[in-house]
């Protein structure tokens, strides 16, 4: 068997040497143009992460987003992961290529912006101690690793469109209180007393919440409320 060059503990470069990472996708080396090219050339899916805090001069993609999404070919699926801080109400209504609009989900993310196409090319923009670091890469391994991690976060995050809107603030607060009661497993009688309403009224509210969640049972209401991240944090016990 071939002798392996592994006498030292230092890492050895293995396989084909990595291609230069900043392989420019166009003659214009600017990140904005790179991002446009990535999106323009996508044939199947575009995955975008917006998680750099608002107002930082380092953010590139968010201000660019409308222009980026205009470049998406028809039938290309567009998914956007954002955080509570970077979420913008206009996001779900942006053009998503297939006419259905981009799918937007909320997740907890480290500060980063990225755009990926077809698991083949990626641009990432992250906050570093030494200012921002932006790179574009077509190297198979890092792009695929980024892509699978994106999918993993996506799968466990909340679709924004599924979260019902309860209208005015007073009602939203009542709904939150009721969900809190349900969350701690309070009986209807106890919950109604705590909220100073009749058991009947309480049950009517619960039925209304279930209807808006499109839940067929209280079990499913709990399932959906948790998936949609609508529940207050678990109350302290003891």
């Amino acid at each position: 068997m071939t002798a392996l060059p592994l006498s030292t503990a230092a890492p050895v470069p293995i396989g084909s040497p990595p291609r230069p990472s900043a392989a420019p996708l166009s003659r214009d080396p600017g990140p904005a143009e790179d991002a446009r090219a990535i999106v323009r050339e996508a044939g199947q899916h575009v995955s975008i992460i917006l998680a750099l805090p608002q107002g930082t001069q380092r953010e590139v993609l968010r201000s660019l987003l409308p222009a980026l999404l205009d470049q998406v070919k028809p039938d290309v699926r567009v998914r956007i992961l954002c955080t509570r801080h970077t979420y913008d109400r206009r996001l779900p209504h942006t053009n998503g290529g297939d006419g259905g609009g981009a799918e937007v989900r909320l997740a907890r993310l480290d500060p980063i912006e990225a755009v990926m196409a077809d698991g083949r090319t990626a641009l990432a923009n992250l906050r570093a101690e030494t200012g921002s670091q932006i790179f574009t890469t077509q190297e198979v391994l890092p792009v695929q690793a980024l892509h699978t991690l994106f999918n993993s976060i996506w799968k466990r995050s909340v679709p924004l469109s599924a979260r019902p809107d309860f209208g005015d603030r007073r009602r939203t607060r009542l709904v939150a209180e009721i969900l809190g009661m349900l969350r701690v497993g309070a009986t209807d009688e106890v919950a109604a007393r705590a909220l100073s309403i009749s058991v009947r009224t309480y049950r009517r509210h619960v039925a209304d919440i279930m209807e808006r969640l499109d839940a067929r049972s209280r079990f499913e209401a709990g399932l959906l409320a948790a998936e949609l991240d609508m529940l207050p944090p678990p109350a302290e016990r003891d």
Binding site: G15, A124, L141, G185, R216, F219, E227
Partner: protein, 235 residues
């Protein structure tokens, strides 16, 4: 030299592929060990999804578990489809403090030391050169950032095992389905061909297993454990 790797039976006529596999795995183990040895604060690993991936990546995982210093955080993210009780049992005997979480979607093989250097591996991405070592800070920064996101949304091993226990039997899964679909206990019992009392007992067992006092709470716990994912994509 003894074959340290392949447990999967190789198809006939793939001797060359077998040589490749061995070579890759040996290099992989050596490179992963060297990387793990450098780490001073954390080693973060994602396990590739396919069966062949685990059989080749497994030796590297075990080698790292023995190499990483005890005070260095060792996190392993497993895709659920590659879940392997035997590998995990070995892992926890090799090393006392190892954090394992389960992700629900496929992953690629990644090892990151201190989020400063990384090893990327895929059995299919490239031919003959499917391992790459990196010390480019920007790319590792991006990988690290997404790793932490995926880690944060993944299910801790203990929860995952609990959930497997809870849905081990077909009738447990059926009861969960009836609870979700809002069938009355009588209707559900009838559909399952069991008595009302037996059905109620099954529900009570599931609630107890989930640590829930009400059916709403049981739904919340089921979501946390990923037992039923109503919002999952078609993908």
């Amino acid at each position: 030299m003894a074959d340290p790797v392949t447990t999967d039976p190789l198809e006939t006529g793939t001797r060359q592929a077998a040589a490749f596999q061995r070579l890759d795995t040996e290099l992989l183990v050596a490179a992963a060990t060297a990387l793990a040895d450098q780490a001073t604060s954390s080693v973060n690993v994602t396990i590739p999804s396919d069966r062949r991936g685990l059989s080749e990546f497994g030796p590297a995982l075990h080698a790292m578990a023995k190499t990483v210093r005890p005070d260095v955080e060792f996190r392993v993210l497993f895709p659920s489809r590659a879940f392997d009780g035997e590998v995990l049992r070995r892992l926890t005997t090799e090393r006392a403090n190892v954090a394992v979480r389960i992700a629900e979607s496929p992953l690629q093989g990644v090892v990151m030391a201190d989020f400063r250097s990384a090893l990327l591996w895929s059995p299919i991405a490239l031919k003959g050169g499917s391992v790459a070592l990196f010390d480019k800070s920007a790319e590792i920064g991006a990988l690290g950032s997404l790793f932490l996101g995926a880690w944060g949304s993944a299910i801790p091993l203990t929860e995952f095992l609990k959930r497997r226990e809870l849905v081990r039997h077909e009738d447990q899964r059926q009861v969960l389905g009836h609870l979700r679909d809002g069938h009355t206990d009588r209707v559900a019992a009838q559909k399952m061909g069991i008595s009302y009392r037996t059905y109620r007992r099954r529900v009570a067992e599931i609630l107890e297993g989930l640590g829930a006092e009400s059916r709403f709470q049981a739904g919340v716990r089921a979501s946390e454990l990923g037992l039923l994912s109503p919002l999952e994509d078609a993908q």
